[in-house]
Every structure is written in C-alpha cells, then in structure tokens.
Symmetry: C2
Subunit: 672 residues, 2 copies
C-alpha cells in the first residue's frame, strides 16, 4: 500500500506507525550510526502486532505468560526501542532513546538481553533470534504440558529479515521447528528485497515460501503496509497447526524519497535533509524525538491492553495448588531443586567407593542419571550423537509433537541450531537445557555459544570426544584448539574433568550457575577415578586444586586436566621414585581458578618449583599458569599438541604425539 | 531394487559393487572402527558414476580437466578408498586399505586432502564437502571463461547424506549454487532415511526435493540400487541448466541381514558373523580383502577409461598458445605472478611517502587495487558486506551466471558457505579466493576455516571491524576472543597489520603462501602510517620487529598489533619523555614470529626490560610473549580487554576500557 492511501484510509494507525518511524530516523541521526530502514519498513506490521495480537503488559515485562517478541533482525533495534518506549516500558525513557548507541545507555546498538526489559534475547548476529525462538516455543510447549494451559499459554513472535533467512542456522531452526510442529511460533518475514550489497537477487534466488513449506511450515502473506491485510494474516497465523511464516511484503526505508527500496536506507543515518523530506511525506511536522501527547497516549493504551489478561492469569495462577505455584516460581527463577546437592553428594560418595573406570562422557551420563530424576526442569538433547554423547538417561522420554512431556530433544545434525535453541529454552525460563555434540563441532555452534556467554545464560554444552583420545576418526574430529577457544571466550565456564567425581562436580556447578554457560569437555576413553577419598566439598568449584602433594622437597608442579591428569599422576610417581618431589594440580576449570583469591592461587601454584602442564591440546591457555601470572615465577614447559591430530587408535596417538608420563618426566628433569 | 533381482539382472555390475561393499566391511572390521553402512548403501550409485560418467584417469590423478568427485559424507571414507584402490590409483594399495585408520596410513578415518590422490577435499565435518563443491564448480566456470572450453570442461560430483543436508551450511551452499546456476554441479543424495540417532523422522520432516527446487535446483531421482535407473538419472543430470540434486533412494548397510536400514549399520563394524552372513547374501565367497582378479581387472579398465580423453585434452592443451599454456600452468600451480612483488614494492614506496591516514580495511582495498590488475587469478567477495570489507576493487566485475569472467562474488549473508566455497575454489586450483566479513563473524565460518588450516589451503579471510574500534554496533559485533581463536588454530596465519604498509605486506604474504590460510584482521577506524621509511624488505614476514628503539637505556618493551601500535608509540613517547627508554615491537603475525630462529626472537624480545602488550582483545595469546617463552624472562602486564565490549563511539570505548597510552605508561611504571 502506498503512503498516500495508507494515510488517507488508516489515519490512527498511520500516526502510531509514523511515531515509530520518526523515532527511528531521529535516534539514528542523533547517534550518527544505526539502521533506520528496517524500522521504517516494518513499523506497520509491528504496530498491528502490538495493537491487536501480542499478549503483553508494559507495566509487567516479566509476566511469565506474556507472548515473546523477538527481533531477529537485531540491527533494526530502534524498532523495538521505539515500541517499548511508546507503549510505556518504564526503563525505556525518551532520554534512553535519545542516547541510542551511547556509552552507558541501555539502548545498545543491537538489542541486548539484560539491558532492556522487553528484549527477550540478544540479536544482531543474523539468524540467531529466529533460532532462539524455536527454543522459546519448545519451552512454552514443555511448560504447558507440565503446568497446564491455565498457567502457560502464549505465542512466540519473530521479526526476521532476509539476512536471517540466508544464514544457514535458519535452516537448522526451521527444520527443527517444522519437525516439532511448533504451531505457536510465528515468523514475520520483512520481505523487502534488499540486503547490504543491494538487491537480494545479487546473491539469492530462493523461493522462501516454498522453502518453509518444504520444512513443514504454513506460509501466509500480506501487504506489510496494509493494516487490515496484516491483521488478517496475523489472525490466521494463530490458528495454524504448524509453525507459520508470514511473508510481509515491505519497503525498506518506507517513505524516504531518495532511499526507500535501496540499500542506502539500511545502515546509515538518512541525513537531516532526507529526514525532513520524509517527515513531510509522512505528514509528521514534529521535531526530533517529539511525539504528540495524543499519539503517545494511544500507544500507552496499547501498553496497558494486556493488563486484564494478566490479572486473570494471576488469579488463575493463585488458584493453583501451593506446591504447583512454588514449583513454577522456582523453575522460572532458575533455582536448582533442594534435592540436587544431596543427589550429587550421594553420587560422589558412591563413585569414591566404587571407583569405576569409565570415560567422563559415561560419568556424565551417571551424573545425569542422578540429576534428571530430581531436577524435572532439565531438557536434554544431542545433535544426532545421543549414543556417543550419552546425554539421554533412561527416565527421559523424547520431546516431540506427540509428547510434550518428553525431556529429550533429537536436535538432528544441527549443532548451531541446537545451541541457539538451547539459548532460547534457557531465556524463556522454566527449563534447564543441555545438549551434546563432539567438542570439535563447537566450531559449528560458535555463533550461538558466544551469545550464551554475552547474554549470560546458563546453557550447558556437553562436548564429548574431547581430544585425540577419540582415536581413529582422525583430525577432522579431534579438537586441539577448542579448549583454547572456549577459554578465550569471556563469561564461559570450560570444564575438563579428570574423573567421574570431577564430572559430577562440574555438572553440579553447571546446573546451579545462573549467569554463565558451561562447556563440559568429556573423554571418549576410560579414565580411573583419582578422587577415591570422598569430599563433600565441591573441589572443582575452586577451578584447580592440589590432587597429590610432593612427598619430599617440592621441586616440580604438574598441572593437567581431563584424561591427562592420569598421565600427570604417573609422571609424579616416576619422579618421586627418583626423589624429585612433585605436586599434581588438577585443573578442571581455569575460569574458576582465576576467580579464586590470590592467596589460594599462590598456595596452589607457589613460585619456585618448575612447572609442566599436560593437556592434549594447544598450549595457548596454559602460558598464564605456566609462566606465572606476574612473570618470573618458574621455569616451565608444556606437554601437549602443537598441530592437528591424526587417524589411529588413541593409545598410539598419545605415544606418537609424546603426551606421556615419560615425556613429562623428561621435561621436568630438563628444567631442574 | 532388492539384491536377488539386482544380482540376477546385473551380474557384472553386481560383482563390481560387491567388491566395494566387501572392502568396506573388511576394512572397518580390521580397524575395529569406521562406517560400513554408507559405502554398502552407495556402492551401486558410485559404481555407475565411475563406470559411465565420471571423467577421470586413475593414472593421472592431477589431470587438471578431470571431473571432481567429492565425498561430502566423509564418514563413508571406505567408499572412496575402495574406488581408488579398485580403479588403480597408485597410492591406494591393498596394504593401505588394510591399514585403514592406522598410524601412518594414508587411508585416514575420514578422507584427508593431501594424503590420497583422488581425495579432492577433506570431509567428515558434515556439510563441508557439498559446500566446497560450490567453490569447485565456480572455479571451473571461471577458468572455462578465462581459458576456454578446450582446456576446462568438467563436472563436479558430490555424494552427500542426510547429515550434510541437515547442517545449515548446506542451505548456504545450495542457495549460492542456485543463484549462480552452477549446472555442472551434481549432488547425489544418499537418501537412506537413517541418521545416527535412528530414523530421520526423529529429527526432520523436510521435503528435500522441494527445498532444493526452492533454491533453484533441478531435482531428479532414482532407485539407488538399480544400475539402469541410476544411469538414466546421471545422464539426465548432465543436461541440466541448473545445479542438480539426484535423490538416490538407498538402503544403508544394503544386504546386511541384521543391520540394513538401521542406525546400527552406520558407525560400527558389522562383526565377523554379520559380515559372513552378508557376504553369503552377496554371493561373495571371498575372504577379507580378497578381490578376484577378473573383478579387479574390470575395475582397472574403468580406471583407464578416461585415458583417451586425457590424451585428447593434452593434445588440445598443447595446441594452445605458449603464453596461455604457461599462464594456465602457473595459476594451477598456485604460483604468484612475477608482477606481484614489484606492485607491492611500488605501493609500499607510495604509502611511505604519502602516509595516508586510513583504516587498514581501506589500506587493504588499496593493496587489492595494486594486486588485482596484476594477479588475474584472484576472485574476491564478501558475505554481503562489500562496502564495509572494501573487498571489491574497481576492476572486478561481478561473477554470476551471466558473466563468468567476473571476479567478484556476492556470497550473500553466508559466512560459513563463503568460507567453504573459498576452500573449494582454492582446492580446485587456478584461482586465488579471498572473501570478507566482520572479524566477529569468523564464529559463523569456523567450521570451514579450521578445514582451510587442516588441509593447508591458502584461502584468504579479510576480516574487518576487528575490535571494539568498530564502535556503536556493540558487543555482538565486537570481536574480543577471535584473535585468540585464530591464533590457537594450527597452521593459520593471523595478521593484524598496524598501518597501510603492514597491510600491503600481509597481503603479499597471504597471496604467495601455498599451504596455509591467512586471516587479515583489519580496522574500521583510521590509523596513521607508522612505517614512513620505505623498506623493500617485507618486515611483516618476520612476524614481529622493532618498530621504534629505546633512545636511552632500554627499560621497557611495548608490544602491540593493529590499531594499538599507535597507542604503543604514544606511550613510548611519554615514557621516553620521562627518561624511560622504551622499545616498541610491532607484532603483525605471531605465527611468523614464532617461526623465526631463536636468536632473532631474543633480539626482538631480550630478557630484562619489563614488557607490556597492548591489544584490544583478550590476553590469552600474549602470555607466551609477555612472560617469556622459557619463563623468568621479564615482569609483564597487559593492556586489553577482559570481557565483552559495549555500544558507544570507538574513542569512548577505548577510554572506558582503559586501552590508552596513559594506561600503558602507568602499567610500565608499576612494573619498573
């Protein structure tokens, strides 16, 4: 619909949508940075969505049964800031909008989870939001199955652009959503035919409607500038038995005389003159950031539209049993159950006694077997490696369209989609997602794993086959740099437990953590229990600790993680036999050790003795501990990998790459 | 087609296909590790392909005009080893097949490029091969346009499984291939309905035929166990005007009485009893690794089938002009043109004189403007950030179906697909690919970037917006861990040039390198030229070098890269003004510095003076240089990032995060 017709036939709508457009133009101009074209293009769709469909109450942004709105095309952040400001979200003041993209403002360049209520997930890296949304929709289904439709009954709405749809992750997401028949997931496609480089046809000829249908979606369409047509499509979307794509035909930079329908509208301020010309066309005579009171009032009424529904929900919730209320409140708050700590303690006791020689991936399964029965909010899964990752315990049924009470998701061969869906599950709240693949294939999931860290959501990555120890599958499947990658990523806990006891401890930390993702790097090969003396205390929580002390004068400190702690212990035995006092430090989590106070760190790693670290991976993260945080602390060396692995049985590889007790002993002696 | 019918009606075919199947079963059993089900399922398709369609000559695996055959489902590696052995590739002896997956054998667990002639690319990580194939097909088109169909005229064949098609990267690949109308790209889909976790329906309901059609592909189908039907489909595929998917309906573990059509056939040895039972059904009475001479002879005849075509090609090639022959030979060998070095030298001279204060992304464009005209084999591109990455120089037309002489590819918003396609372009040979995105989005491309390194192909990644210096787009777009990630990856050159001169030098290295990928981390913000004295020598090739020497007694050494070298120089000026002799070491490439001899490294970083490194990123890769390779070398500190960035103008971010000359001076003084 052209602007003249739209203005003439839908005056009220037009004014409200124009307020969004004006704020977007003004804020981007003031910041001298940002993306005006998308908010200008999608303002009509967003106005209809917020006015007639989205279930929300601006005064209660944490209402658990609100619809979730996800701006997958996160560069259009001014769209959501405008909507939140106009509808009356308390945090998003006009001052914040004026400070768009400035230091200290909550109105970040791209929408950041945790900065702004109403921003359900961090978006900007394309394709993530639509993929998170699959997790949000699965969380809704799972919680509805558990707590009933009186408590959980909402939709997940997504605005996605061509960029989101071109990213491969979106295929993983729509494939998963289609298989799961997530009929409360509705994606509004901003089909404006423009990407940064120009017309979409420069790089793509995909028939998106057909593509989504092929993945099991329902496809609707509308004129993205015709409020009645948009409303018709959104109403129809809510009645689907499958996830829905609404193809919204729009114009990027709608109304800008020089920039509409061009890439020039995408990522730069329009300029004062063009803004003036556009406002003229809009019939919007107001200065920068000026919203007439009557239009603001109309928007605020929309912001209050859900108040009655929320009150009804609260009444319904209050009518639930006390136990159900408490349980729902607990899981939505991400509080671990009281039974978790005793369950872990009992397991550790049992492990210390029986000392089973198992792979840490198997130990992880044993931990989950203790955890899942007492922690009903866990939702496990694997990217088609269930039997390798050992992520499915016997009590978990499969979660699918026929069984929403299931707690195990077959994510398919979709590592990136799995990671993003897990972020969505965690962000929705009420569930605790964990999912597995091989550690090497964190490569495929990196985009979403970084966002777990940036958002501070406690997604748990169960990454098995964590070194050359996987053997014959060879270097394509053998991680060597991936521990360094995870450790280089801020706000991420990377665990590499040495035995079944540390594995149980790592799980306990991962599942009680509220603001950081955890990576559990787990062995394929069997490892002995080294912690045969039971401790109630979670030693892994210290990050590193003295596993075995030197018997004589302490001349050497060996540090190791995971499968290499066994090697360190063997090297220690050999060194001690030669009279060289040797301490072994097990180092399951560098991040947690770095967070200990300095006196503890110095006690574990005193200056003086030579240091050798052993890890079947690259050295990069070890230099800090080897060479001393302040330098000059010790002579040091490293036993590990300097390049990629090879195809052969694991024992052969360890021998050929020199990751052995003998090599460790030799390095210690060379330093003494 | 069932086995009884197949055996009865296609005796010769059956015996040849049974040889593949038997070798696969036997080798996996002997290795006690591997994937028999896929080779058993696809043996009929592969036999028809090699017997009737694939243009190859086993005696000349490097023949430039051979068809390329890519086993995207790399876990089925025994399929390709069997084919190469049977058709007579000299390297792939029966001994090698018997040593499948063992130390020192070329028959690695997954097919490794460089180990085995006939393996065109390393596969195993799913979705990579099909995505490499898009690059292979584009290279063929580009070279055909340049050198003519008499010299370049071949197909790219791919075998892909459900795993490849479920990975998101495959969507990026098929979207790109569809847009490019790569009609010589033919994908044979091993449609066996099984993945590791079980039936495909556990995780996917996608109508793959419809999905490929939506991306602009032609779709054919065949009974993957009916040789005549397979032949019909492959013949039809070669006449398409679009890329082709051939839906080959197959049975995984074909013929295994207990494991056919089940996930049990996928990734484990069948077991001696099941192998015996299967061979019984096959009518294959031969022991492990025994191939009857007549069957081997038939296969070897297939291996010689292309000899005549090759001879004709050689005659045609010899009839080309001497210049054309020399040029084709040069580009296929990956030799840089003689004009490259003088072009870079002239550019460096000009830059040293004029000292333009430009962003290193702009300096990169200036380097490319010097390089592209003298290096006609470059093929540039960007993942929809052409105007930001500055990867397109004025002389490059767009490469597409209407202009195969173009040298610039609009990859679309497909970082992973771009990286994999570039690997394919580089592996095909004859072209030198480079492509851009933001450094932060190496996250999306990691899977393919790792394979560049593992294979040792000189793909060039132009990664701009390399720090918080990108400013207002905020932490989703600001890399902090990505330099550590690239540096942790073996066999990868990570450059972060400090100015326009170092940028030109980095490009020279990247484009003359034959066996390593390069990452160029480039600034968004302007930087002064620091190397105003022209040197013919490429100082960046040393990895790190003394940019400015202490004037008095050397008390401090500052190390920095990229945009932070300017800060180091300012800090040095301030320290020198206070009488603290300070050396500045520019550190554009840690890997190249690590490869210098020890005496050079010690000259650049002598023990004694305190050390401070400055980089707007995490510290992890710096500890080695800060703390001393052998420990005890110096007191040290770091100025950089400890967490994620924020949204604000760049200058503000540098100030707020304390990455300043003042902070550097303070840290030096605190150490003295």
């Amino acid at each position: 619909m052209d602007i003249a017709t739209l203005r003439a036939t839908h005056t009220d709508h037009w004014q409200k949508a124009a307020a969004i457009r004006a704020l977007a133009m003004d804020a981007v101009q003031a910041a001298n940075s940002g993306h005006p074209g998308m908010p200008m293009g999608m303002a009509d769709v967003a106005t209809v969505l917020f006015e007639n469909h989205l279930k929300f109450d601006a005064s209660a942004p944490d209402w658990p049964d609100r619809d979730r709105f996800i701006l997958s095309a996160g560069h259009g952040s001014m769209l959501i800031y405008a909507l939140l400001h106009l509808t009356g979200y308390a945090d998003v003041t006009l001052e914040q909008v004026k400070n768009f993209r400035q230091w200290g403002a909550i109105t970040a360049g791209h929408p950041e989870y945790g900065h702004v209520k109403g921003v359900e997930t961090t978006t900007g890296p394309l394709g993530q939001g639509i993929s998170n949304a699959v997790g949000f929709a699965m969380a809704e289904e799972s919680l509805r199955a558990r707590f009933g439709a009186k408590v959980v009954d909402h939709y997940t709405w997504v605005i996605a652009g061509d960029g989101c749809l071109m990213e491969g992750i979106s295929q993983e997401a729509i494939g998963l959503a289609g298989m799961q028949r997530l009929n409360r997931l509705i994606v509004l496609w901003d089909n404006n035919d423009i990407s940064i480089d120009g017309r979409i046809s420069l790089s793509d000829v995909t028939d998106q409607r057909k593509r989504f249908e092929a993945a099991g979606w329902k496809v609707l369409s509308c004129d993205g500038h015709d409020p009645a047509d948009i409303d018709r499509a959104l109403s129809a979307a809510k009645g689907s038995d499958r996830p829905v794509l609404v193809d919204c035909k729009t114009h990027i930079g709608y109304g800008s005389p020089k920039k509409q329908d061009s890439a020039a509208a995408h990522g730069s301020p329009l300029g004062d003159a063009e803004i003036a010309a556009t406002k003229e066309i809009y019939g919007w005579p107001h200065g920068p950031f000026v919203i007439p009171a009557d239009i603001k009032a109309q928007w605020e009424a929309i912001g209050r539209r859900g108040a009655a529904a929320r009150a009804e929900w609260e009444a319904r919730f209050a009518a639930q049993s006390t136990a159900k209320q408490a349980e729902f409140t607990r899981v939505m708050a991400g509080e671990p159950p009281k039974k978790l700590a005793p369950a872990i303690r009992a397991l550790k006791k049992d492990l210390a006694e029986k000392a089973p020689k198992v792979a840490t991936r198997k130990a992880s399964e044993m931990a989950l077997a203790a955890i899942n029965p007492v922690m009903p909010e866990t939702i496990g899964g694997s990217a088609d490696l269930s039997g390798s990752n050992l992520t499915r315990t016997g009590d978990l049924d499969v979660f699918n369209a026929d069984n929403r009470k299931g707690r195990y998701i077959h994510y398919g061969i979709r590592e990136h989609g799995m990671a993003a869906a897990m972020n969505g599950l965690a962000l929705h709240g009420g569930v605790r997602p964990y999912g597995g693949t091989f550690l090497c294939f964190t490569d495929y999931a990196r985009g979403a794993m970084r966002l777990s860290a940036l958002m501070g959501v406690p997604t748990v990555y169960v990454m098995t086959h964590d070194s050359i120890g996987l053997g014959e599958d060879g270097p394509t499947h053998q991680p060597v740099e991936h521990l360094a990658i995870c450790r280089a990523t801020p706000n991420t806990l990377t665990f590499r437990p040495a035995d079944a006891v540390e594995t149980a401890e790592a799980w306990e930390i991962a599942l009680t953590e509220k603001a950081r993702p955890s990576v559990l790097a787990l062995s394929r090969q069997n490892l002995p229990v080294l912690r045969t003396a039971f401790t109630a205390k979670n030693l892994t929580a210290q990050g590193a600790y003295v596993l075995a002390e030197a018997t004589g004068k302490r001349q050497a400190i060996l540090m190791a993680t995971g499968s290499e702690v066994e090697i360190a212990m063997a090297a220690r035995a050999a060194l001690e036999a030669e009279g060289i006092g040797t301490r072994v430090v097990s180092f399951p989590c560098m991040e947690l050790f770095a967070a200990q106070d300095e006196s503890y760190r110095k006690r574990v790693l005193p200056a003086g003795p030579v240091r050798v670290a052993i890890e079947a991976a690259v050295r990069q993260p070890w230099d800090r501990w080897l060479l001393g945080e302040r330098g000059r602390e010790a002579k040091a060396d490293f036993v590990g990998m300097t390049g990629f692995g090879a195809s052969a049985p694991a024992e052969r590889l360890y021998a050929e790459f020199g990751i052995t007790a003998e090599a460790t002993v030799a390095k210690v002696k060379a330093l003494l």
